[in-house]
């Protein structure tokens, strides 16, 4: 008995010792120590930076890039407490975040990596092909609650929205709702994929999601007569388009610069397109905006897609094929 107990305790003890040995090993893997480039933030931007990182690491065997999701807010918070080198975001950095960054001595620098359109989707059985922004606003604020009122079948509208803190929601709210409140009984889903699933299941449903996540199981309606496509989103004709951002502390340098350069140039932008997003520009590096400690205004206002002088509204120098290669939909 004595012997057996002792053996058991020895085993537990050695487990503890093993853990003690493990702790320093784990703590070695912090970003700077092994020159790991960490990228963290929006789940919308995730597929782009992920595939970008894979190809980049393929080209540069010494590079170690770690990509994480978590959300735009998490990404920017991590940039501020310096646990990530690049923060990805599907919305512009907020004034209060800049405030916090400044207090922590971090100066967020913005790079637009791609354009994303927000597609408005309905169930394939729905005859509606076009909605005006006003109709979309009426549906989402609860003014209209039956498809009959919009000339469709007599069917209750099942309004599907995203979490009020998701980047897609914020962009949709700003672009389509003018900051009005979504009706409180709208279904709130946690991801783009769930929007697809839910719209595909409910005949009366309407939802919105990132263009790259559009699946064949739902129907994208045109907005104000303009259907979502690579051309219309890039040119700014499609009303619900937004830029996707990368934020770094100060101008990107070292590994971060090499990676961002890669992503914003020819090859990286081809990957952007393969992921179902819209390339921002051909070749060349986009100029970002340095946030001065005094807090100057930025070059890229998020909702300025309609203006012809905005940098990402510039027509492409070479015509591109319409995007067919969309991101495969998960079940």
């Amino acid at each position: 008995m004595q012997v057996r107990n002792a053996g058991c305790f020895t085993r537990i003890f050695s487990c503890l010792l093993f853990l003690l040995v493990l702790v320093p090993v784990v703590s070695c893997s912090d970003p700077e120590a092994r020159n790991t480039l960490t990228i963290k933030g929006s789940t919308t931007v995730l597929p782009v930076v992920q595939i970008g990182a894979e190809v980049f690491m393929d080209r540069n065997p010494w590079a170690v890039i770690s990509v994480q999701g978590g959300g735009s807010g998490v990404g920017i918070a991590s940039l501020i407490d310096r646990t990530t080198r690049i923060a990805t975001s599907s919305r512009e950095i907020k004034a209060e975040e800049i405030e916090r960054a400044r207090a922590a001595g971090v100066h967020p620098y913005e790079t637009i990596v791609a354009m994303d359109g927000i597609a408005v989707t309905v169930n394939p059985s729905n005859p509606t092909d076009n909605l005006t922004t006003e109709q979309i606003r009426d549906i989402y604020t609860g003014k209209v609650s039956n498809w009959r009122e919009l000339g469709g079948p007599d069917r209750e509208i099942v309004v599907i929205s995203r979490d009020s803190s998701s980047g897609t929601f914020e962009a949709f709210e700003k672009l389509a709702l003018d900051g009005l409140r979504v009706r409180p009984d709208a279904l709130v889903t946690a991801s783009n994929q769930v929007v697809n699933t839910t719209v595909a299941q409910a005949p009366g449903a309407i939802g919105y999601l990132g263009y790259g996540y559009l699946s064949d199981r739902v129907k994208a309606v045109s907005v104000d007569g303009v259907g979502p496509s690579g051309e219309t989103i890039r040119s700014g004709r499609y009303p619900l388009a937004r830029p996707l951002y990368l934020y770094t502390d100060g101008k990107p340098a070292g590994e971060a610069k090499r990676y961002i350069d890669f992503l914003t140039q020819e090859e990286g932008q081809r990957l952007v397109q393969e992921q179902g997003f819209i390339p921002v520009r051909q070749g060349g590096r986009l100029s970002g905006q340095w946030y001065e400690p005094q807090g100057k205004s930025r070059i890229f206002p998020a909702a300025s897609c309609g203006e012809s002088d905005s940098p990402f509204a510039r027509p492409p120098q070479r015509t591109r094929r319409r995007i067919e290669n969309r991101r495969p939909a998960l079940p």
Binding site: A77, D163, L187, V188, A202
Partner: protein
């Protein structure tokens, strides 16, 4: 040497035992610290009784009543499912099942308990929700009813195995005395065994409630997520756990919204704490009643 080893082990295990206390204190302190800015700047009862949850608008509304109601509705619904099924399973296993049936059923129930909640969520979202939607003709299958159903199935193994334990704790002498007095099997079961195990079964049910209240993934995927007080059980709802899980990732750290989410966490913590205390009190009473002592 042996004395030294014994002292050493004693210390190691004392430290390990107190580690969980340390974690608990840490969690409670964090919850309080992070929710403090919100509790200071907002009237607590206005918030708890507020009807609108619009945390990211300007001006923001942090009415938590729809969220709290949703948690209660979904939990109640889950109880309606898991009490009959769970207790029924326990009675069957204890009274009627043959040895071979028990040998099959018990491990199966344990497997059901071990399925990760996201699998239940997937199952609910892909299979159950469309089925309910078509069957009942409701606008969407992602509603309180479906969430209750899935949560009930999830809580069933907890209730079943704890209730079965409670039944088996009833001393054999109780049953023998009852049968000796001429009571038949049904009378013995309903008038002697179940009342004797009553508080144990209640504990099982309360712990099942605790499981349902705190469950996150299933309600996030299946409950629909509308922050509104439901008119019927077929309306989409947004329980507290789903709100925390969905909004934590995207909110600005240190903002009022962030702090409000921690306040929801704090409320949830106190609800589960109360549930556990009630369960403990009932279970203690049960042990004393059967003369098992402590």
């Amino acid at each position: 040497m042996r004395q030294f080893r014994e002292t050493l082990y004693r210390w190691i295990f004392t430290v390990l035992a107190f580690a969980s206390l340390l974690f608990l204190t840490g969690i409670v302190l964090t919850l309080f610290r992070e929710s403090l800015p919100f509790l200071v700047s907002h009237e607590f009862f206005d918030t708890v009784l507020g009807l609108y949850w619009y945390p990211t608008y300007d001006p923001a509304d942090f009415g938590m009543l729809p969220l709290i109601t949703a948690s209660f509705v979904v939990t109640l619904g889950a109880m309606v499912v898991c009490i009959p099924v769970g207790v029924g399973t326990a009675l069957f296993l204890h009274e009627l099942a043959s040895a071979s049936q028990r040998a099959v059923l018990k491990p199966l129930i344990e497997i059901l308990a071990g399925i990760p909640s996201i699998i239940y969520g997937f199952f609910g979202m892909i299979i159950v929700a469309p089925f309910i939607q078509n069957l009942l003709g409701v606008p969407t299958g992602l509603n309180a009813f479906t969430a209750s159903l899935i949560l009930g199935i999830m809580a069933t193994p907890t209730v079943a195995s704890l209730a079965e334990d409670a039944l088996s704790f009833v001393p054999r002498s109780f049953r023998e005395a009852s049968l000796a007095l001429g009571a038949n099997r049904w009378q013995t079961l309903t008038r002697v065994v179940v009342p004797a195990a009553g508080s144990g079964i209640s504990t099982a049910i309360i712990l099942g409630i605790g499981r349902a209240v705190g469950e996150t993934m299933v309600v996030l995927m299946v409950a629909g997520g509308a922050a509104v007080i439901p008119d019927s059980i077929f309306d989409p709802v947004r329980p507290m756990t789903a709100t925390i899980a969905a909004e934590m990732g995207e909110t600005v750290m240190g903002s009022v919204h962030y702090s409000a989410i921690f306040t929801i966490g704090l409320i949830l913590f106190f609800i589960t704490l109360a549930i556990n205390i009630v369960a403990e009190i009932i279970s203690r009473r049960f042990r004393l009643k059967l003369g098992l002592g402590r």
